[in-house]
């Protein structure tokens, strides 16, 4: 009887391991696709449905959420140094409801830089947590920062 119970548990564990492996492989394939999409500004713009981006101009895209305190710091710093971003295309994207994200950006005077993107498209083409900063020049991804990043580090990439 004991052997049967242990055997059943072992079988369940084998099935669980197969599921772990299947899910992991699927996720890795998805990550690879996402990374390919993020390589050029024109492609990520197309996938996210953003028509206002000019792929020939340098761009700084920030993926954020108003409740994350690292994002709050990032947005505050950009707002304080907005003049330094004049020559670049600046865009903020969030998976939150548009009104909430815009109200948050409004507090920092950045509502004009909000990019309206469908939540499903956004979470399909940008994986992982917030904040993330994508820096493009000559239509190609120069740097992808995960987590908060100081203004000097962003500007250094575009120098």
């Amino acid at each position: 009887m004991k052997k049967k119970i242990v055997g059943s548990v072992a079988l369940a564990l084998v099935l669980l391991c197969v599921w772990f492996a299947y899910k992991s492989i699927t996720k890795l394939q998805q990550k690879e696709k996402v990374q390919d999409t993020q390589q050029t500004l024109s492609l990520i713009g197309e996938k996210l449905g953003i028509e206002t981006l000019d792929s020939q101009k340098p761009a700084v895209l920030i993926y954020f959420n108003s409740e994350c305190h690292f994002c709050q710091y990032e947005v505050k710093e950009i707002s304080k140094n907005l003049s330094k971003f004049k020559q670049y295309q600046l865009g903020f994207m969030s998976f939150e409801p548009e009104i909430k994200a815009k109200n948050f950006l409004k507090e920092y005077g950045l509502q004009a830089f909000y990019l309206s993107v469908d939540e499903n498209r956004l979470t399909t083409h940008i994986m992982g947590g917030v904040p993330q900063v994508f820096i493009y020049d000559d239509n190609s991804l120069k740097k992808h920062f995960k987590g908060e990043v100081k203004i000097e580090a962003i500007l250094k990439v575009l120098e």
């Binding site: 242990v6 772990f20 000097e152």
Partner: protein
């Protein structure tokens, strides 16, 4: 530390000693190896000094949690592994008690203090010009150490490559010797038991952690 009924007096003393040494090593590493300057060097390319110091302050504020969780971690790890070995004993028709296996697992757990001790000796006294990345990827006698530039690997590969090391072999031998003593069987028999039983637990654990790092990691 609260006494737990499944721990006999001798097991409790071994458990206490294991936790004390692990906490001492951990405290030494966090105060003398992962120093403020090492963290500042590592983070300064991406974060401002003001934010780095805030992060360091938060790390110091919550360091007690690390030490509190260590005994809990060891306790659950040892209990789970003992239960796993007991399941193996049913399949292999070994007669074993929970307390006996638990003691063997506790004793074998001391093997895992060696990598921490090596880290302390290596970066504390030999190679003192290290970076935070060096500490992150420090995995002596492991598959990871065969890679010249481990930073270039996908992050989900790091844990399994770090985990497949000589200490796993030492741990399997320690478990086999312990089981040999409590069951009065010869070493080959207990090694034939330990290899597939512990090996299967290691495979499940590595798959689980890899699954988490792929699915939850950025």
């Amino acid at each position: 530390m609260v006494k737990v009924p499944i721990l006999s007096n001798s097991n409790f003393l071994v458990f206490l000693l294991l936790c004390l040494i692990a906490i001492l090593f951990n405290a030494f590493i966090h105060s003398n190896i992962v120093t403020e300057s090492v963290l500042v060097d590592y983070l300064q390319n991406q974060m401002s000094y003001e934010r780095i110091y805030k992060l360091i302050q938060a790390k110091e504020k919550w360091s007690w949690l690390n030490y509190t969780l260590l005994p809990i971690f060891y306790f659950f790890k040892c209990v789970l592994l003992t239960l796993w070995l007991l399941c193996g004993a049913i399949i292999f028709d070994f007669k074993a008690s929970f307390k006996g296996f638990f003691k063997v697992v506790l004793m074998a757990e001391f093997v895992w203090l060696i990598p921490s001790l090596l880290l302390i000796i290596w970066y504390g006294f030999i190679d003192t010009g290290y970076s935070y990345s060096d500490i992150q990827y420090f995995a002596p006698l492991s598959l990871l150490s065969l890679f010249e530039n481990p930073e270039s690997l996908d992050s989900w590969l790091v844990y399994p490559l770090k985990s497949l090391n000589i200490f796993e072999l030492a741990y399997i031998i320690a478990l086999s010797v312990g089981i040999m003593k409590i069951m009065k069987k010869d070493f080959n028999k207990t090694l034939e038991f330990t290899l597939p039983v512990y090996g299967s637990s290691l495979v499940v654990w590595l798959l689980f952690i890899t699954f988490l790092s792929i699915n939850l990691g950025s």
